[in-house]
């Protein structure tokens, strides 16, 4: 578990060089961000991020549907939307907890514990989602 999460740090210097050499600030800033992200993030975190992006897309889709088409079974919409939002923040929490940069902050939460928390929270959340779907 541990060895995979070690390729971090020591790339802020390279970011700065990218930043200063470019002409227009915005694209370079974003490309810098993208580069830093792809370089510094472990594959495990990227996997979590992919799930987050999926959840966000799903949530946006539901929201757009609610606004453009109908919100008629409002409880069903809320349940679906809360399911994506809730899953999103729980996953984001998991990401925070297993992110090696936050190691000092979450001294008492091991990776296994973080995943157990995530599972527990998700089960509770989806129990209520299921109850609320109607």
């Amino acid at each position: 578990m541990a060895p995979k999460l070690s390729t971090t740090q020591s790339s802020s210097g390279s970011n700065k060089t990218i930043q200063t050499t470019s002409q227009s600030p915005f694209p370079s800033a974003f490309s810098a961000l993208f580069n830093a992200y792809t370089q510094n993030t472990t594959s495990r975190l990227k996997f979590i991020d992919a799930f987050l992006v999926f959840l966000m897309a799903s949530g946006i889709l539901q929201f757009v549907y609610c606004i453009l088409v109908t919100n008629f079974p409002f409880n069903a919409f809320l349940a679906g939307f809360a399911s994506t939002v809730g899953q999103f923040v729980l996953t984001a929490s998991l990401r925070q907890q297993v992110n090696p940069e936050n190691k000092l902050e979450f001294k008492e939460v091991s990776h296994e514990r973080a995943f157990a928390d995530f599972v527990f929270g998700s089960i509770i959340l989806h129990f209520f989602v299921y109850n609320f779907l109607g």
Partner: protein, 776 residues
């Protein structure tokens, strides 16, 4: 290392730890016992009976739940309340309390323990008070240490501010809500400390339970976001905050919408929008900090800061627009009345008319909290000294709850836990300081001096310190020979070398004895207040005979039992809304209005009938199929909570709906006095309420002076007459009077002429026999 008193040295640390935890368990057991026992005064002095007004409804609903099961309860439509409208009980009730009792009931019956549902209801509040003590212990232990936790548990166990809502028989939502409040706060603090989604989810589950149990859940809904927001503003954003808050909010909000009475409110009303706003803000801040961890250019940082601010402003703007457009309900009147204490009186008299919604009087702070109210600020200051994240929570809680407790009497209840916690922190810090055996280290020569002075045993610590100081002081100090300058130089040298501390065992003893003395007085005060002020069921009244023995006044139950035995099952009883739940619970008859004051117009109708003359009231009564009218009258006994004293609220509420027909000033004398004697205004004397209260009152005194003992006024010798109602029953002490509404005359005359005709025919009409007897 010198010690003030000898310490045993041959004990291993494990033994100490084990003994400490054993002592904690024993102490906690005793605290639970004390918490439960002190709430049993009501049962011992009176009997195992449900108290007051609202608990009667909860009890009735629980009986339905226990007898018919949860689904029946959930779908229960009660046609006997709010006649003729009825009430959808399942959707207009916080079911947590009833569900709790139902679960306990079924649990006990599963094990063949046939406990009556009434006893479960009566003893639920004391039982939960022990759990509250435990939750407070855990909460305070997070703030400081387990010893402060034990003190807090002991405080919350016996403090009158909490007992007032949780004596045996006080079967109200608050009985379990305070436990849920404290456990939710504890889990929130724990989640925040550890950054654990598990505790966040647990906090959400207990939050759900709280939502199901008490309307005061909005306090948690706003306290936790405010805490998170303050931490954000203080620059204390951390991953732990994100994890704790988001897991709590996402699950808690969804779960709170499962309660039918709450419904979609968490996404539709302003009270809940703060929590949503902080949730959104945290997402933005978390994302920003994530991005910042990857890119560290100055330019990008600025861009980020600007975008965060823009999104915040946009969010606030969207909120305003949505409120304006009506997608989000604006703040309710109850909320406004928290900020402007005069608001309710002006716009919603029905809220202002409830006595527990009045602003708190100063003495009640002392009455409810006694010495804790002095220790409370000290504890808050202690929190400032450390100011970890959880201390910020206590500080915010203290400020908010103090304000609310000042605005409304009933919100004293939310202040009490934080007062107990802070007071426990303060007192335990004091005790820690003075029980600690180690004395401050002093350079060698001083040690000798102070050691000598301690050995002498006569000198105080100051003297000891002074000797030490003056000995250590340079020869320059020799010139100043007076004790004062000695002392000054001693304190100076102490201050310079940080020699603060307590020397000697006697100095410790003085403070500790003093603290213990205060605690003993606190216990006496709590016991006294509990037994005398907060243990009355208010259904049964007690007075003292001249010889000191107790005299029970049981008029309420007498009247309700009469109704139950002598009227048809579907008889409609009209009374002021205070007594609606009791009539439904004890007499099992149909009521027009009750304590679930959801329909202001209906209540105003009853108010109008009560405050109008007979001729006007009669059509209203007939239209609502009223068979009996019930009034509470304390004039004979001096019972001040009667309907004549509440009458002005009936007038005000009726005036709110029919300003043309009912006007409050008409009920006062021209001098602006509220009188019931022969100077009472015409409108007052003609009102149905006045007539029903004083009907045949002066006959009771023979030819003597009929005195209303609540208002200390003489009632005119010629009392009011009634044409459209007839007296049906009056209880022993005249507290409850029941009148029967006459049917239309069979010959088509109006009742007034029919009555006059009947009286002309025979001088005395047969009056219903009443079992009253005059007691003085």
């Amino acid at each position: 290392m010198s010690t003030a008193f000898p310490l045993p040295t041959n004990i291993s640390p494990t033994t100490v730890a084990n003994t400490a935890s054993l002592l904690r368990i024993v102490a906690f057991g005793l605290i639970s016992g004390a918490a439960i026992a002190s709430r049993l005064f009501a049962v011992i002095n009176f009997e195992s009976i449900i108290h007051e007004f609202d608990p009667w409804f909860n009890y009735r609903a629980t009986r339905v739940l226990a007898a018919k099961g949860f689904y029946e309860f959930w779908n229960w439509f009660d046609p006997t309340a709010w006649y003729p409208l009825g009430r959808v009980v399942g959707g207009t009730v916080y079911p947590g309390l009833m569900a709790t009792s139902g679960v306990i009931y079924n649990f006990l019956h599963y094990f063949n323990l046939p406990v009556d549902i009434r006893n479960i209801c009566v003893l639920l509040a004391p039982g939960f008070s022990a759990l509250t003590a435990w939750a407070t212990y855990m909460f305070t232990a997070e703030m400081k240490d387990p010893s402060a936790g034990l003190l807090a548990a002991a405080f919350i166990g016996i403090v009158p501010g909490y007992i007032s809502r949780s004596v045996a028989g006080s079967y109200d939502n608050e009985a379990i809500a305070i436990f849920l409040l404290m456990i939710t706060f504890y889990l929130w603090i724990k989640a925040l400390k550890l950054g654990s989604a598990l505790f966040g989810a647990l906090a959400a589950i207990f939050y759900f339970y709280m939502v199901a149990a008490w309307g005061g859940y909005a306090f948690i809904t706003n306290m936790i976001p405010v805490h998170a927001l303050v931490l954000l503003i203080m620059g204390r954003f951390s991953g732990r905050l994100y994890v704790a808050y988001c897991s709590w909010y996402a699950i808690g909000t969804l779960s709170s919408m499962q309660v039918p009475f709450v419904g979609f409110q968490p996404v539709r009303t302003s009270e809940h929008m703060g929590a949503l706003g902080v949730f959104g803000l945290l997402q933005i801040v978390a994302f920003a900090s994530l991005v910042r961890s990857h890119v560290s250019s100055k330019q990008f940082q600025n861009l980020l800061a600007i975008s965060v601010v823009t999104m915040g402003v946009l969010g606030a703007g969207a909120f305003v627009v949505m409120t304006y457009k009506g997608w989000i309900a604006p703040w309710t009147g109850r909320f406004y009345s928290l900020w402007d204490t005069g608001y309710a009186k002006k716009y919603i008299p029905i809220i202002a008319s409830v006595s527990e919604h009045q602003p708190t009087a100063w003495p009640s702070f002392f009455m409810d909290l006694q010495l804790l109210i002095f220790l409370f600020p000290a504890g808050v200051v202690m929190c400032f000294r450390e100011l970890r994240d959880e201390h910020v929570f206590v500080i915010i809680y203290a400020v908010v709850a103090s304000y609310f407790a000042g605005v409304m009497v009933r919100l004293m209840l939310t202040l009490t836990p934080v007062v107990c916690v802070s007071a426990a922190v303060a007192l335990s810090t004091l005790l820690d300081t003075y029980v600690e055996a180690r004395e401050p280290d002093v350079p060698e020569e001083r040690t000798e001096a102070s050691g000598n002075s301690v050995a002498d045993g006569k000198k105080t610590k100051k003297a000891g310190a002074a000797t030490a100081g003056s000995q250590a002081g340079s020869s320059a100090a020799a010139a100043a020979s007076s004790t004062i300058s000695d002392f000054v130089s001693a304190t100076k040298s102490n201050a310079n070398s940080r020699q603060k501390g307590i020397w000697g065992a006697d100095a410790r003893l003085v403070i500790i004895l003093n603290a213990i003395g205060m605690l003993v007085f606190f216990v006496f005060h709590c016991t006294w207040v509990t037994s005398n002020a907060y243990s009355s069921p208010s259904v049964v009244l007690a007075s003292t005979n001249p010889d000191g023995s107790q005299h029970i006044i049981d008029d309420y139950r007498e009247a309700y039992y009469w109704l139950r035995q002598n009227t048809p099952q579907d008889a409609v009883v009209m009374s002021w809304w205070d007594y609606g739940y009791q009539i439904a619970g004890m007499a099992d008859r149909v009521t027009l209005v009750d304590n679930n004051t959801w329909n202001n117009t209906h209540i105003a109708t009853v108010g109008k009938a009560m405050s109008s003359p007979e001729e006007v009231a009669y059509p209203i009564l007939r239209k609502h199929d009223v068979d009996y009218v019930l009034v509470i009258f304390g004039g004979l006994l001096g019972y001040s909570g009667d309907d004549i004293n509440k009458f002005l609220w009936m007038v005000r509420i009726a005036q709110g709906v029919w300003p043309d027909e009912i006007q409050e000033p008409n009920y006062f004398t021209p001098q602006g006095e509220y009188r019931v004697d022969d100077r009472a205004s015409e409108t007052m004397r003609n009102s149905l309420m006045y007539k029903m209260s004083y009907y045949r009152f002066s006959e009771l005194y023979g030819g003597g002076n009929a005195v209303d003992r609540v208002r200390n006024q003489q009632i005119p010798k010629v009392g009011p007459t009634l044409d459209y109602l007839e007296e049906a029953f009056t209880t022993e002490n005249w507290i409850v009077r029941i009148y029967k509404v006459r049917k239309e005359d069979s010959l088509g005359r109006d009742l007034k002429t029919a009555n006059a005709f009947a009286q002309g025919k025979k001088r005395k009409r047969g009056k219903p026999v009443s079992r009253r007897r005059a007691i003085v």
